[in-house]
């Protein structure tokens, strides 16, 4: 999987093989106690836990220019008081475009630029869509998502399903989302018109310097029959959602100085009370992240596109 990323996108030593361009943040999560009915994880108890995280753009190119259509991600590490950790990587898309790692790999290869034309081969792309109709459907949903102007106003989704177990041993399948409390501010959006190559990150930096940003962690509970092993399929919109707490992000720093650069946001680093579902993508993500981590940690680091000078502004 990681070889395919490097083959198609080229290797960019020292950087993540996907979601390469990013910036690190710090803050805290305040559980409101509502989540304890679903999971016995310490993070859902009433109280505050420190969080370190990273906002990034999908793609392997660490110096790519920001673009509105690029998938944006939020990765978080919650440090629980008993020494446990919860790590999660979320995206601002409603579903994941692939059911399995094999599909993801197939699409990377099918969409690779043809060496003679410099653009992807349409015949290969069509063959891929025919072979994996669920992926084509998911791409449709992703294209038609309601766009938000930047990271601050994005809702970030877990995409994969997880299994929560509460103190009584009762299990439920869930997906979660980070839903922003801040709404787009027309004045800022105009002031930071998409001119610079880091305009999305610059807007995020400016917002955090103005005031802490907040998201509500909303947990959606599956009903019997909802797909727990297929991240390309959305769950019906009427599923019960529980607001389990608030994430506050109040500090931002460059990858050049943040410890978050050397953290693998493996979605299967889970505290007791949270576990993987039967979604095959989870184990594949864990494996690929680990491989990407091992490779980049051994490589010489180049400066991040988002420098300390930029995050300090």
């Amino acid at each position: 999987m990681v070889d395919t990323f490097e083959e198609v996108n080229g290797a960019h030593p020292g950087f993540r093989r996907n979601h390469a361009k990013g910036v690190c943040v710090r803050g805290y999560f305040e559980g409101n106690g509502q989540g304890s009915s679903l999971s016995r994880a310490v993070v859902f108890r009433l109280g505050k836990v420190p969080v370190i995280g990273r906002f990034a753009l999908a793609g392997s190119e660490p110096y790519a220019g920001d673009a509105a259509a690029t998938v944006r991600s939020m990765a978080l590490l919650f440090r629980l008081p008993n020494g446990e950790e919860w790590r999660t990587g979320m995206n601002n898309i409603p579903v994941f475009p692939f059911r399995t790692a094999q599909e993801f790999r197939g699409q990377l290869l099918a969409s690779a630029p043809d060496p003679t034309t410099g653009t992807p081969d349409p015949a290969k792309m069509e063959a891929f869509s025919k072979q994996y109709p669920e992926s084509a459907r998911a791409f449709g949903l992703i294209r038609n998502r309601s766009a938000s102007p930047g990271f601050e106003e994005d809702t970030f989704n877990s995409l994969n399903a997880f299994r929560f177990v509460n103190a009584d041993g009762v299990a439920s399948y869930v997906r979660w989302s980070m839903v922003p409390t801040q709404r787009s501010e027309p004045t800022t959006t105009v002031a930071l018109a998409p001119t610079g190559s880091n305009y999305l990150f610059d807007a995020l930096i400016a917002s955090i310097h103005r005031r802490p940003l907040q998201w509500h962690l909303m947990v959606t509970i599956a009903q019997p029959g909802d797909a727990t092993d297929d991240a390309t399929v959305p769950w019906p919109p009427d599923r019960r959602q529980v607001d389990v707490g608030t994430l506050t992000i109040d500090q931002i720093e460059s990858e050049d100085v943040s410890p978050a650069r050397d953290i693998n946001f493996d979605p299967l680093v889970l505290p007791d009370g949270m576990a993987a579902s039967d979604d095959p993508l989870l184990s594949a993500r864990s494996a690929a992240y680990s491989q990407s981590f091992t490779r980049r940690e051994g490589e010489t680091k180049s400066p991040s596109a988002i420098s300390s000078a930029e995050t300090g502004r």
């Binding site: 020494g83 446990e84 989870l282 184990s283 494996a287």
Partner: protein, 197 residues
């Protein structure tokens, strides 16, 4: 613990530990190889690999103490002096690897900023600070040591099997959990042949 007669076998707890760990270490080596090659089963395999490694570390420490406290059976006269030194050296190497591999794994996860999860909320503290350089070195060391361990296990098994099956000196009996039928080549083989008629 020492018996009045000279030992012909390892002490019972030594034999139990030996075979228990043999199964665990072989399982561990195959899980390790499968883990790095698999996407779909990666998580399930890693979840076994970590606590099993720590269990091997604990058992290896117990075994090391047990070895000091018990008397060992002597080598059979069929073993040449060079074979005896090779056997002792490979045993020392096996002990070193049984202890080093889990420690390197634990240190590697610590340096990689990973939580060292055993099961549920049970986890171990880091034994090294987070460091990309240390992580990379230890990650590669872990793989190299695993291959050395696999080679040493094979050499150890090959030596014992050669003696047991080719030299027929019943070397395996020293470690066997239950008595193996005496390997008498002349008289009783003929008797067995007579019996089966």
């Amino acid at each position: 613990m020492a018996t009045p007669r000279e030992r012909t076998k390892f002490a019972i707890q030594s034999r139990v530990l030996h075979w228990l760990m043999a199964v665990m270490i072989l399982t561990m080596l195959f899980i390790g190889v499968g883990m790095v090659a698999s996407l779909d089963h990666y998580h399930a395999l890693v979840a076994i690999h970590r606590p099993l490694g720590i269990l091997i570390l604990i058992l290896a420490a117990i075994r090391l103490v047990n070895r000091r406290l018990t008397t060992l059976p002597p080598f059979p006269p069929t073993m040449a002096p060079w074979e005896r030194s090779a056997a002792s050296a490979s045993e020392r190497l096996l002990y070193a690897l049984m202890i080093a591999l889990p420690l390197v794994g634990w240190a590697m996860l610590s340096a990689g900023h990973y939580p060292i999860v055993m099961a549920g909320s049970l986890h171990l503290p880091p034994i090294l600070p987070a460091s990309p350089t240390l992580y990379t070195i230890l990650r590669h060391t872990h793989t190299i040591l695993a291959f050395v361990l696999f080679a040493t296990v094979l050499a150890h098994a090959a030596g014992v099997l050669f003696h047991t099956l080719v030299v027929r000196d019943r070397l395996l009996n020293r470690m066997a959990l239950w008595p193996i039928r005496p390997q008498t080549r002349h008289v009783s083989d003929a008797a067995a042949f007579e019996d089966s008629k």
